[in-house]
């Protein structure tokens, strides 16, 4: 099966996890952001181009269930996916904890970017003391889930673990 055929079911599963499963498992009223995690994992596995594209699509799905302006998440997630993809070669084959740490930092940056862009377009309620909790918890939870997301992205893009860089170049 080609990667383009695998992307829609992966996005659908991620949307169900994001909207129905993960909200049940909240820590400090915060759930992991599965769709942002997908964008980060796509950047880690597939590089900047695929990270940006997957981030955009995942963000669009997230926007379907939010009251903030449509495409705000898509904008933030595609920027995060692209940024992670820029450093892909150095991250993916480093020690096991480097991709996890990168996911945590990227998730924190993604939430801050979403809130910051939201504030720019008038969603000032996103900037509050709660933002600190959300950034910290999403970073930790997404980092913990990152090995699963990276594995899912490897399957999606049909990338072998050791040949990832060569195949995506």
């Amino acid at each position: 099966m080609s990667p383009s055929l695998r992307i829609p079911p992966v996005l659908l599963v991620a949307a169900v996890l994001h909207t129905a499963v993960m909200p049940q498992f909240r820590v400090l009223d915060t759930a992991p952001d599965v769709l942002l995690l997908l964008a980060i994992a796509a950047g880690l596995v597939g590089g900047a181009d695929r990270g940006a594209t997957m981030g955009f699509m995942a963000g669009l799905l997230a926007d379907c269930f939010l009251q903030t302006p449509f495409c705000l998440s898509a904008l933030a997630y595609c920027l995060v996916g692209w940024s992670v993809g820029i450093f892909q070669a150095r991250i993916l084959h480093a020690t096991w904890w480097i991709p996890m740490l990168t996911t945590g930092v990227a998730a924190a940056a993604g939430i801050l970017l979403y809130a910051g862009l939201g504030a720019v377009v008038g969603q000032t309620q996103l900037i509050s003391t709660r933002l600190v909790t959300v950034v910290a918890m999403v970073a930790v939870l997404d980092a913990v889930l990152s090995p699963l997301a990276i594995r899912a992205m490897r399957w999606t893009f049909d990338v072998e673990q050791r040949g990832a860089i060569l195949l995506t170049r």
Binding site: A15, V16, H18, T19, A20, V21, P23, Q24, F25, R26, V27, L28, D29, T30, A31, D33, G47, A48, D49, A52, T53, F56, G59, L61, D63, C64, F65, L66, Q67, T68, P69, F70, C71, L72, A74, L75, C78, L79, W82, G85, I86, I111, A115, V121, Q123, Q125, L126, S128, R130, V134, M137, V138, R169
Partner: protein
């Protein structure tokens, strides 16, 4: 060479996606949830509804157990608070007849309507907040059941929020605790009017515009005033909450008043949608 070509392509992709996003954000602002973007949201909500229903039914017991573990300290405190409250209520029960008569008299005196005459639609809460920022819940009733955008949502205890988006089988309710929610309230017995703003999950509502010389005390009741609160206008007379603290810091022009919402917003299972449309007062 190949690397620079790949980088150039990824930059072009990024620029295209960023420009697309900015265009859609602008269109969404101009459309205000109508047109194709509103339709996309409604279709996505309805399309995923059966899957989300199934996941909710299967996972809610697991989720409850998980929150029992992660919130164990809070639950223990809440248990102690509830035991103390039961003891208080036992004492107050004997005085309740007088207090109820007084409350009714005050509501009548202040010209507040009763909600009892308005038609309602009972609904089940099928989804907790999806976002980490928005305080919203999803109900299993939509336009097919007469629910429309703007309708207030209540429980037997008081105001929950109002419907902000509705599809055929689903409606999304913004809770009064959402940071973008504002409700015009009247405090009784003082009769002071103010605006109760949401401040996030498990936090009390902050009430603004209460003069420093107003006689507001812990335990006062807050009802919707029917006056403008932010951009929303609820019918008058819906219980909103009870004052938990009121103070006038030196040099301030208004009091710091906090309300505990009357409805238990963290454990909503069934609610009623009131079939009266709130007007947009913005």
């Amino acid at each position: 060479m190949a690397l620079s070509r790949r980088n150039g392509r990824s930059r072009a992709t990024l620029v295209f996606l960023v420009l697309t996003s900015m265009t859609v954000i602008t269109l969404d602002f101009r459309g205000q949830d109508s047109g194709i973007i509103g339709d996309v949201r409604r279709v996505a909500t309805d399309a995923l509804a059966p899957v989300r229903d199934g996941a909710d039914k299967v996972l809610s017991p697991v989720g409850n157990a998980f929150s029992g573990i992660t919130d164990y300290g809070d639950l223990k405190d809440e248990n102690a608070r509830l035991r103390a409250r039961i003891a208080d209520l036992e004492g107050q029960r004997l005085r309740s007849a007088d207090a109820e008569a007084e409350r009714k008299a005050l509501i009548e005196l202040n010209g507040l309507d009763y909600l009892g005459n308005l038609p309602t639609v009972a609904a089940r809460v099928v989804s907790a907040p999806v976002s980490n920022f928005e305080q919203t819940i999803e109900l299993d009733r939509g336009t097919n059941h007469g629910v429309r955008t703007g309708m207030p949502v209540v429980t037997g205890a008081g105001l929950v929020g109002h419907v902000v988006e509705v599809s055929g089988r689903r409606s999304l309710v913004r809770l009064v605790s959402d940071p973008s929610s504002s409700v015009g309230v009247r405090l009784l017995p003082s009769g002071e009017s103010g605006i109760a703003d949401g401040e996030g999950p498990r936090r009390q509502l902050g009430v603004g515009f209460i003069a420093t010389n107003a006689k507001v005390a812990r335990g006062d009741l807050a009802f919707t005033s029917g006056l403008e609160g932010g951009s929303d206008l609820y019918p008058a007379g819906i219980p909103v909450g009870r004052v938990t603290s009121a103070s006038s810091p030196p040099g301030e022009l208004e009091q710091h008043v906090e309300l505990r919402p009357a409805a238990d917003l963290a454990h909503l299972r069934f609610v009623k949608v009131v079939k009266t449309k709130i007007r947009n007062g913005a």
